[in-house]
Symmetry: C2
Subunit: 188 residues, 2 copies
């Protein structure tokens, strides 16, 4: 099985708590935790998407510390994880990069707390991914999540993460880990 | 099904990168991410275990901000998650607290990157938990993980998280999210 999986973490446009459309700032552990989970599950690239150059520069400095600075010697595992990280300005750039790497555009996958009529199950998405005939790009939103317009544009909407409780407020870091495990893990 | 699940995050004794036994300091996002995942999956209590009072005081201040301070108004979901957090000095205190709450001691569950002869599968552990006849306490280590002696004392050792790659360096936050989803989630 050849996995052709990409993920992207969007900082804009996303919702805030009041469902206004905003741009969030970068969180250091989103860089590390998500890169480590992505590398663990065989994701080919983790795109960190931020429209502001100053924010991308900040992450670039963090990356350089771990890729070529002291961090690369003190913790080579971290270096290995951050090798798959790429900084881009918007989703169009993500798709352009995947097309360069794969020779075709990726189908996009999102998750939401709501169920849509066209929602697909994790098992169905696993099966599609394992066919390996097309690259998939899973989108995650920071803040209070991806905006409705972005959700509607997606090729696939995954079912919400069902946890069997009345509460579902996972961090994006936890959500990424769980979704990668459901779609790509094999230790059930 | 009545889930009687507890988790504990140990800061001591754990390994560092050189497999020396150390005490780690508290990480803010271990408090938040793990409380949110625990609350989402119906965990009854999340014990943050640290031997140093000064470190527990630090977390106590964070908790008070979200439980009764400004954070409780600005983000009630966070308040809800942190309600299940308890600060204790060591594992004995964790077991004592569970005995007070449940009238019986919890069986302990750990995970490791290695497979042991007595390792159990996630499915087997799910079945045991769903019986509800005894409380279970899942232990997680910070740093480079729980020490060997603690692993050997555990009642159950789960199989490693198999991700199908040559790399497995998840953050403890990601590992907690994945393991709770495997043991308690129902959205496969």
């Amino acid at each position: 099985m050849s996995k052709r999986i990409y993920i992207a973490l969007l900082h804009s446009p996303v919702y805030n708590k009041e469902y206004e459309v905003i741009t969030t700032s970068v969180t250091n552990l989103d860089v590390h935790d998500i890169a480590r989970a992505a590398r663990t599950y065989g994701v080919k690239r983790y795109f960190l998407v931020h429209p502001l150059e100053i924010q991308r520069q900040l992450v670039d400095e963090i990356m350089r510390y771990w890729l070529t600075g002291w961090g690369s010697e003190s913790n080579p595992d971290r270096q290995e994880a951050l090798k798959i990280l790429e900084l881009v300005a918007d989703l169009e750039e993500v798709q352009k990069r995947i097309e360069e790497l794969e020779g075709q555009k990726a189908l996009t996958v999102v998750t939401d707390a709501r169920v849509y009529s066209r929602s697909v199950s994790y098992q169905e998405m696993r099966d599609r991914i394992s066919r390996g005939d097309v690259p998939y790009l899973i989108l995650f939103g920071t803040g209070w999540g991806l905006i409705k317009e972005e959700m509607e544009k997606a090729d696939f909407i995954l079912h919400p993460i069902e946890a069997g409780s009345d509460y579902n407020h996972l961090s994006v870091r936890s959500a990424v880990a769980i979704i990668l495990d459901r779609l790509l893990g094999n230790g059930r």
